[in-house]
């Protein structure tokens, strides 16, 4: 035994060694290159995370060729102590010389570093940010490069120091006048709990507020004026500004700004009003953002020419850390806090793909974004500081590198609830912070395998190990540069309490790299193309190389130098190209770009109707729903020449007509008690056509009148509806077909869920039409086990001239019910899923109807697969009369509870004894936690959440997964039009651990040469899309808790 164990040990060691020698994309060479920098933190009673919340944020690093010797140098910032400048001597040898160069820094606590060429002399200058707080003295510092290897500290802003909570600065040309303007980003030090209302946003703060300085001088002789107010820059205490990046998000030729704010303050997206000011458009451009936003970077991830955005937060990927960390607030609390003046924010990373612009009259075009972080599994990189988006492997697409780790984790639930016990207001700081659990985390890297606008096979592949970048520690500032001029990006990382890392890129493909000397320039492919800027301020407190990859520039580049001259250069491919003023071919004077139309969407018409959801949320009754079940509707259908749109509870339904180019509305106030969820036209047995409107709400039992359904006839269609007798349903959808073969229309009403008992078998209603024109409710056994219905349609799929019923369910399958034989025959069309929507259309034009099946999509962040399904066990574990929910999912091969310990003890208080602390819960496999509980429990299981198209092949349905585009949100509505499905969807009712997913813009799905294909529609269709209805030769789209809009 002992011997064999010894052998096994050797084998294991051998295995490790072999793996260690696997060649990686990067090799770490700091020590070998002479770089000995460390950012060691001195922590004591007078300076620590209790006194200063950003004590563990680390410091920045800058890459620039300061002495213009052709090799990019590295400048490291130390929080406390002297900064270091490493001159690049070539051949991976560096020599420290900060003191001799005069750039050791003078402030007591330093943070960010940025680089610019303030006087257009081709020599990069340095700007440092510093914190004046506690006993720390300091100010932001500017070092003018003398061009001889030394710098002179200079007051940049005439006679004035910038003193406060400096974080980072950004030099950029805000008004395209060729000189560098300045944005000073500062954080805040106030406890976050002090602010509950966003009204503080407008109050400027002398030390925390951000500042914008317009350069009113020239490229050679800068003059800075504080223009924060008239340029529309906010500067309050609630702006916990942590990061900034400038990009031209709306592709109008002017640099816009994105600022990541920590805590509850919104991130700021400032659109540049063509050089005349900034406009804050966060609310309009995004549907949800990261909450505790840290590092940000911008760049074109999907190759569509538009700048995308990646923002970091602190959601852990590791099971134990994820469960130990404070997560999102419960739904109703989240909603309330948001109502204090904030946008939707959730504690996770966001990868905002730029989906193009909405043009606006008299304003800059508005860029809109689709957050696909969850879809690409990059939403949880743990306590992340810096992100860089560049093409590290040289395959032509931008990859992602994320720095990670915090010295101690203050958001640890056990720490907050137990370890700090007795601490609070009186204990000395040291006792408080020393109990905080450590938080070293591996850095992450993602290789971009995205193809063709993300439409088909695409992935961001976690490659930190394969690339040699998985250092585990506390890494903060990071920057890229090409230190040996081989056309491949190398990396440098500033670590807290650890040695700096220098990664040499040894396996990447060399790119066509351009070096602009020390100058800040605009460049473009050709005259008339969109400009780019060689800005280096990005990531975390840092500044990367101002060189650029120009592989897709087609061999030449047009450069606009700071003196206003334009020159064309021919590029040598696959190598470094050094461009200098005067060495190219002179072009004419720079002209303003005109907007390329392809990025702009059409503007829809709006209906005189806005659906307002009531304030009730099902989460207060059932906290562990994946999606709230109360945000249904509005119902919409065309009847008698008018469009009927249902209201939510206490909002009247309306009839909308169109005459003389105007929309007219008539409210039916008498029917406002109903929450209308669906409607369908029915021919009553006496020959009278009618509109059947069904109502449902999980707010009240079926015995209440509001759960009754009703119909309107043409004779009295704007009068109160006729209520149909029956037991009432929490209706989600209705379909009309002849079910009993008597030639008279009947109606099937699918129930969403049982009141206060989600998961139980709902009570679907069947109304049989009688000859007198009435509708008779009937109990039908075959409906008993259909499941929780989200949508129903009736259509003739088998071509026998009679309609079949198809139902979509939550946690169940899509089922087809054929009434031809007299007894209903139920066929399962899919596996269990979280289905949301059905529609029929002959997409492949083979003469029969195909079936579009919408589901919640794949942008929710819950790991699942057919082999590793998401499971939900429902049982009254504690015998208190209320069924409890136990979810499980598989994380890295092991099945765990989906939600945390706090969620479990709210389901069943008995578990508070078993898991008094999170540490006894976190990381414990589900099967070890629950055994008896699962006996006799209802088990629900879902292996896929993708939306599908079922192609009808002579009655057999062949499954096709809809293109990736359409998986970005729940697919909740569609319209079959010109042989294609227009699809839309979204929800703001997901559990807050998933967050709002309603940023998917509309797509058109059609059947092409190679099968299904998708493309953007001409409009930006975002929100909780509920219904699409063709009316008056237009396509009307209705949102839940949103406007009605008219497309086409």
């Amino acid at each position: 035994m002992r011997f064999s164990a010894y052998i096994a040990g050797i084998l294991l060691l051998a295995g490790c060694t072999a793996q260690d020698k696997m060649p990686t994309l990067f090799e770490e060479r700091a020590a070998a290159s002479g770089i000995t920098f460390r950012n060691d933190l001195t922590e004591d009673e007078h300076q620590n995370i209790v006194d200063y919340l950003y004590f563990y944020n680390g410091a920045g690093v800058a890459v620039a060729d300061f002495n213009q010797d052709g090799f990019e140098d590295i400048y490291f910032v130390r929080n406390q102590g002297a900064n270091e400048l490493y001159w690049n001597k070539g051949d991976w040898q560096f020599e420290e010389g900060a003191a001799a160069a005069g750039v050791s820094g003078i402030s007591d606590f330093q943070t960010g570093v940025t680089v610019t060429d303030i006087n257009a002399d081709g020599y990069p200058d340095l700007y440092l940010s510093a914190v004046e707080y506690l006993h720390w003295k300091g100010r932001n510092e500017f070092y003018l490069n003398n061009g001889d290897g030394t710098f002179t500290e200079t007051r940049l802003i005439d006679g004035m120091d910038v003193v406060g909570y400096g974080q980072q600065a950004l030099f950029f040309d805000a008004d395209n006048d060729g000189d560098q303007d300045l944005y000073v980003l500062r954080h805040s030090v106030h406890p976050s709990g002090a602010y509950n209302n966003a009204s503080q946003r407008a109050v400027r703060d002398a030390k925390a507020g951000d500042l914008f300085y317009l350069n009113t001088g020239s490229a050679r002789q800068p003059v800075f004026e504080d223009r924060s107010e008239d340029w529309g820059i906010l500067g309050s205490q609630i702006g916990y500004g942590l990061s900034i990046v400038a990009e031209d998000f709306n592709a109008d030729g002017y640099l816009d700004l994105f600022i990541g704010n920590d805590f509850h303050e919104n991130d700021y997206l400032y659109l540049n009003d063509r050089g005349a000011g900034f406009e804050l458009v966060t609310q309009e451009s995004f549907r949800a953002n990261s909450k505790f936003t840290m590092g940000v970077d911008a760049g074109d991830m999907d190759g569509d020419g538009l700048a995308d955005l990646f923002t970091l937060d602190m959601k852990p990927w590791d099971e134990v850390e994820r469960k130990n960390a404070l997560g999102a607030a419960p739904f109703h609390i989240h909603k309330y806090k948001r109502g204090q003046g904030y946008v939707e924010q959730f504690p996770k990373n966001s990868l905002h793909l730029n989906a193009g612009n909405i043009p606006r009259k008299g304003k800059s075009a508005l860029p809109v974004f689709e957050d696909v972080a969850a879809f690409f599994n990059v939403e949880s990189t743990d306590w992340s500081w810096g992100v860089l988006m560049e093409d590290f492997d040289g395959n032509g697409t931008k990859d992602i590198f994320v720095t990670n780790g915090i010295k101690r984790r203050p958001n640890d639930l056990d720490y907050i609830q137990f370890l700090s016990d007795g601490g609070g207001a009186t204990t000395v700081d040291e006792e408080i912070y020393k109990k905080m659990p450590p938080g070293a985390v591996e850095n992450r890297a993602y290789s971009n395998q995205v193809r063709d606008d993300f439409a088909y096979e695409s992935a961001l592949i976690e490659s930190s190990k394969a690339w040699g970048l998985n250092y585990k520690g506390t890494s903060n500032g990071s920057a890229y540069g090409d230190f040996n001029n081989d056309g491949r990006w190398d990396l440098v990382v500033n670590n807290l309490d650890g040695p700096a890392l220098l990664y040499a890129n040894v396996l990447g493909t060399s790119s066509t790299m351009v070096d602009f000397g020390g100058y800040a320039v605009q460049f473009k492919k050709r005259s008339g193309a969109l400009p780019h800027w060689n800005l280096g301020t990005r990531g975390w407190l840092s500044h990367s190389s101002t060189r650029r990859i120009a592989d897709d520039f087609g061999g030449s580049i047009l450069v606009n130098w700071p003196d206003g001259s334009n020159e064309v250069f021919t590029l040598a491919p696959g190598t470094l190209n050094r461009l200098r003023p005067g060495a190219g071919t002179t072009m004419g004077v720079k002209t303003d770009v005109t907007l390329p139309l392809k990025y702009n969407s059409a503007i829809p018409d709006t209906l005189p109707f806005v659906h307002e959801e009531d304030s009730y949320t099902a989460f207060i009754q059932t906290p562990l729903l994946l999606e709230g079940v109360d945000e249904m509707g509005p119902a919409a259908a065309v009847f008698n020449g008018a469009l009927m749109v249902g209201g939510s509870t206490n909002k009247a339904p309306v009839w909308i007509t169109r005459s003389d180019g105007h929309w007219d509305t008539t409210k039916v106030n008498a029917d406002k008690e109903f929450e209308d969820t669906d409607a369908a036209v029915i021919a009553l047995g006496n020959g009278t056509p009618a509109l059947l409107v069904v109502s449902g709400s999980s707010q009240r039992p079926n015995s209440s009148r509001q759960q009754q359904d009703r119909f309107y006839t043409a004779a009295s269609f704007k009068s109160p509806g006729t209520v149909i007798a029956g037991p009432g349903t929490n209706a989600a959808a209705v379909a009309v077909l002849d079910m009993n073969g008597d030639g008279i229309d009947d109606a099937f009403v699918g129930e969403r869920c049982v009141w206060n008992d989600y998961g139980a078998a709902p009570n679907h209603a069947v109304y049989f039409g009688n000859e007198k024109g009435g509708l008779d409710w009937a109990l039908q056994d075959w409906t008993a086990q259909l499941g929780m219905i989200t949508d129903v349609i009736a259509a003739d799929f088998d071509g026998d001239g009679k309609k079949e019923l198809v139902i979509a369910t939550d946690w169940g399958s899509v089922q087809k019910i054929n009434f031809q034989s007299g007894t209903p025959e139920i066929t399962k069309l899919t596996e269990a899923g979280l289905w949301r929507h059905l529609n029929a259309g002959d997409i492949d034009e083979d003469g029969d109807l195909d079936l579009l099946v919408g589901a919640v999509g794949e942008n929710h962040g819950i790991a699942l697969g057919q082999e590793e399904p998401l499971e939900l066990w429902i049982k009254d574990v504690d015998l208190n009369g209320d069924r409890d929910f136990l979810y499980s999912y598989v994380n890295q091969g092991i099945r765990y509870p989906l939600f945390g310990r706090d969620a479990l003890i709210k389901e069943s208080v008995q578990y508070r004894k078993s898991y008094l602390k999170n540490r006894s819960f976190s990381g414990k496999p589900f099967d070890e936690m629950f055994q008896d509980e699962l006996k006799g429990a209802q088990k629900l299981s879902v292996g896929s959440t993708a939306s599908l198209l079922l192609q009808n092949q002579s009655g057999n349905f062949v499954h096709y997964t809809l293109p990736n585009h359409c998986q970005r949100a729940p697919l909740t509505a569609s319209n079959f039009r010109n042989g294609a499905f227009i699809v839309g969807g979204g929800t703001d009712a997901f559990h807050t651990s998933i967050g709002t997913v309603e940023n998917m813009c509309g797509f058109e799905v059609s059947w092409g040469e190679t099968g299904l294909q998708s493309k953007r529609i001409a409009y930006v269709l975002r929100g909780s899309v509920a219904e699409m209805v063709a009316f008056e030769n237009r396509l009307v789209v209705l949102m839940n808790d949103g406007p009605g809009i008219v497309l086409y």
Binding site: I333, Q417, S615, N880, K913
Partner: protein, 441 residues
């Protein structure tokens, strides 16, 4: 600290004596019971029990100890027929070795262990106590007495199951809406409204949660001429102009089991005893001062905790009827966005003040046991670094506890005044209805 050291010394010395001189068994089992309640209080603090739920633990624990006493001594009347649904428990064993003190300690300990979350901490305390009792009274006496204590505890726990506590865990959460005068979660943590369905918990003595329903609060209004607005401004100005004595009073009676402290990036819980825990502490102090024997001590805990238990039900019934907004919310939203009360606003509606109601009730109950003018020095808050305060009577202490909520900036005056009167009314009712000790004073 200097006050704490001598008592610790005494404790160590007494341990020493017990160990070395078993021939003279100590008989101060009153202290054992006080220590047991003290241990429970510490665990309730650690486990973060909310005020109503903590009162439930105290009441059922005291019930178990007291019912053993009632079954063991003719001067004490059983709770069967007095507390709603309370069962008839088997009589105490007729054995010479049987010691009701040990049985009562065991019964209370078992009930507490079942009701707290940190079972091991309670068990550890009980093991230490029982080991000491074995040394003093021998294994036989302890095991016979323990066995009976277990029986009574099982009856109490079985009875407790019928109080709707378990069912109410999953009742609907408090719904937030747009009504500006309706309670909303408060800074810094915006916690959910606590125990919105506590009125469904079975009362002990009151015939319903609504029995002492107070008059509605003044009509909420931001009209500057309204009574409500005047009360709101009183909170604002009082907090902005606190003197040292008012500040000391507010902090002394804070009794918030979970204050979320945000210091820099660091979020901490400062944990303290609940309002009920404070009065349980006072009960122990009074028992010690009056030198009550074990049986009377058990009786005192029972009477005090009964007042607390029904008091919380009565108060919470009103809180989630009126659902009145806290001063902090209105002040922040209307005229001072950065204003913070001295004490952290607790997470439930404003009217009536819980501390006022239960202090009113407990004051009446304790006056019934110890007399109207029983002066005492309150040292309950020492573990939280607060100096002792002295009171001429329980009534005076409860008056101060009530008004502390105004100084703390978390209640308007009507919630305090009407709350105290609500508590005293229900206290008086319980005091006359609940018959326990029937012997001579």
């Amino acid at each position: 600290m200097n006050r704490l050291f001598p008592s610790l010394t005494v404790l160590f010395v007494s341990f020493f004596l017990v160990q070395c001189a078993p021939k003279e068994p100590y008989t101060d089992h009153s202290s054992d019971l006080q220590n047991e309640f003290e241990a429970i209080t510490q665990i309730l603090v650690h486990d973060i029990f909310s005020p109503p739920v903590a009162a439930r633990v105290y009441a059922y624990t005291a019930t178990a100890a007291y019912e053993v006493v009632a079954q063991s001594h003719p001067d004490y009347r059983s709770l069967n027929g007095q507390f709603h649904d309370f069962p008839a428990v088997p009589a105490a064993p007729n054995a010479t070795e049987y010691m009701p003190e040990i049985a009562a300690l065991q019964a209370a300990g078992k009930v507490a262990t079942a009701l707290v979350f940190s079972e091991d901490r309670m068990q550890q305390h009980m093991d230490e106590v029982m080991a000491k009792l074995v040394q003093n009274h021998g294994k036989e006496a302890v095991s016979i007495s323990q066995a009976y204590g277990e029986i009574v505890a099982d009856y109490v726990l079985n009875w407790a199951k019928g109080d709707h506590y378990n069912q109410s865990r999953t009742f609907t959460k408090y719904e937030i809406n747009d009504d500006p005068m309706r309670w909303k979660p408060t800074p810094p943590d915006y916690m959910d409204g606590i125990e919105p369905h506590w009125r469904n918990i079975r009362t002990l003595i009151m015939d319903s949660a609504q029995m002492f329903k107070p008059v509605p609060p003044p009509t909420p209004s931001m009209d500057t001429a309204s009574v409500f607005y005047r009360d709101l401004m009183q909170v604002y100005h009082t907090v902005n102009n606190l003197d040292d004595e008012q500040t000391a009073i507010a902090k002394f009676w804070d009794c918030n089991p979970y204050v979320s402290v945000h210091r820099g990036h660091v979020m901490l819980a400062t944990k303290k005893i609940t309002p009920g825990g404070h009065w349980i502490g006072i009960t122990g102090i009074a028992c010690r001062k009056a030198g009550l024997d074990f049986f009377r001590t058990a009786d005192a805990y029972l009477r005090a905790s009964t007042g607390l238990f029904d008091g919380f039900i009565s108060c919470w019934d009103e809180k989630y009827r009126s659902e009145l907004v806290r001063p902090e919310t209105l002040i922040n939203e209307n005229f001072d966005a950065q204003w913070k009360p001295l004490l952290q606003t607790p997470p439930f509606p404003e009217y009536t003040s819980g501390h006022s109601v239960i202090s009113g009730a407990a004051g009446v109950m304790l006056s019934g046991v110890f007399g109207q003018n029983f002066a005492f020095q309150d040292s309950t808050e020492r573990p939280y670094g607060l100096p002792d305060r002295s009171y001429p009577s329980f009534t005076a202490a409860s008056d101060e506890a009530a008004v502390s909520r105004l100084y703390g900036g978390i209640h308007y005056m009507p919630a305090i005044e009407i709350g105290v009167s609500q508590g005293r009314s229900l206290g008086a009712y319980i005091d006359t209805t609940l018959v326990t000790y029937t012997g001579n004073e």
